[in-house]
Symmetry: C2
């Protein structure tokens, strides 16, 4: 499944799955998981440039990604583990001002999450490298300063529940990515910023280390609030 960037069809991103992050954006903890789709054209491998569209206030949301290994629907949480091929460290880049605008207006989140380069991501990590995903730890730094850190143990809905929920609505396929939500500390990414993030085991073994530079995008969409 190291080919998921090229072959995967879906990116399923979970919202509000860490309590402290829910609070920082003045939202409420959901009673069941909810999610949105990001296009796979938003993938950006490590070393790449995050392009910030004109008029957009971009935010970082560092997240653990779960890569699906085989097709399934109506997967019971107790069986979910066997559908996990591995993991990837990712950033769910978000046009926060656009997202706040569409939330107010009851419109889809899609564009605010779906720009090209808005899913910076690391390499495939085989599940064997992380037998207990709850013990993983990850962080993100902007220009060398830690902004977010977390562990899947803090999730409102654990990975098994996320797989159960999503697959009760849409079939999961090999190469699909589930972004499992972001811990608190989200904040702006501006042109010129250096973004680094790391995923490691409990004992400190680094499983993924990614880095990106943010730049201004001069062509394409320009956000102008109404």
């Amino acid at each position: 499944m190291s080919s998921f960037l090229r072959t995967g069809k879906k990116i399923i991103a979970i919202g509000r799955n860490y309590v402290e992050h829910v609070k920082e954006l003045n939202n409420t903890v959901p009673k069941e998981p909810f999610f949105f789709l990001k296009p796979t054209t938003s993938y950006l491998p490590s070393g790449g440039k995050i392009e910030i569209p004109r008029g957009v206030l971009a935010h970082h949301e560092v997240e653990l990604g779960v890569i699906i290994g085989k097709s399934g629907k109506d997967i019971n949480a107790s069986q979910a583990d066997s559908y996990i091929a591995g993991y990837a460290l990712a950033i769910d880049m978000t046009a926060r001002n656009m997202q706040e605008d569409v939330k107010k207006r009851g419109l889809p989140w899609t564009a605010s999450k779906g720009f090209d380069t808005f899913t910076p991501i690391g390499s495939f990590i085989d599940r064997s490298a992380a037998p207990d995903s709850n013990k993983l730890k990850f962080w993100i730094k902007i220009n060398g300063t830690i902004k977010q850190n977390g562990t899947p143990a803090e999730m409102v809905f654990p990975i098994s529940k996320l797989i159960e929920h999503v697959s009760s609505i849409m079939t999961l396929e090999e190469g699909d990515l589930i972004l499992t939500g972001t811990p608190s500390g989200v904040g702006p990414v501006s042109p010129g910023d250096e973004i680094t993030a790391e995923l490691s085991t409990e004992s400190g073994v680094v499983l993924s280390s990614i880095q990106f530079t943010a730049i201004q995008r001069d062509s394409g969409y320009q956000f102008k609030p109404e």
Copy 2:
């Protein structure tokens, strides 16, 4: 591109693109196009069964689908035509009660549009069969009664503008489908209903004729409003 059902990665669905439909749902005509993503796991070829999840009020939205023939970003409307491989007649099935609920709460539309079987669709129609897409006509019948009919000529934003807008946000790829919005007359689809739809040229040549049966889905997600 007759393989788009199998190889395509994105379904981009445009909202509120026919004035009469905007009015019937008490919405306002958008100043620029907006869209959401549906997963390709929602495709259902003609002859299949539309599965209605428990607790869901499902609505039909018959739409002209545009199939992208080559990769492109920041496509100018004047060049958009060369990115169109062809067309397909489709139904953007919608869990209307779920959608109204998430709209009120500022949440993503994704689940309400993304259930398995929620994109019933016909075969690929090469663009050579429809040199002027504005002259196409389509309709949908539920149990033999016409519920919606329309022509792309009535769109708020024409296909060329939709391609320009979407590709200014996310790269379009070969096999992607753009659902171009639905005319007025949307309404319920219930278990047992027979759904038929047709796409034809101005002179009455039938380009696509599709039919589906709706059934109750007994497993999977159940919608329970809060």
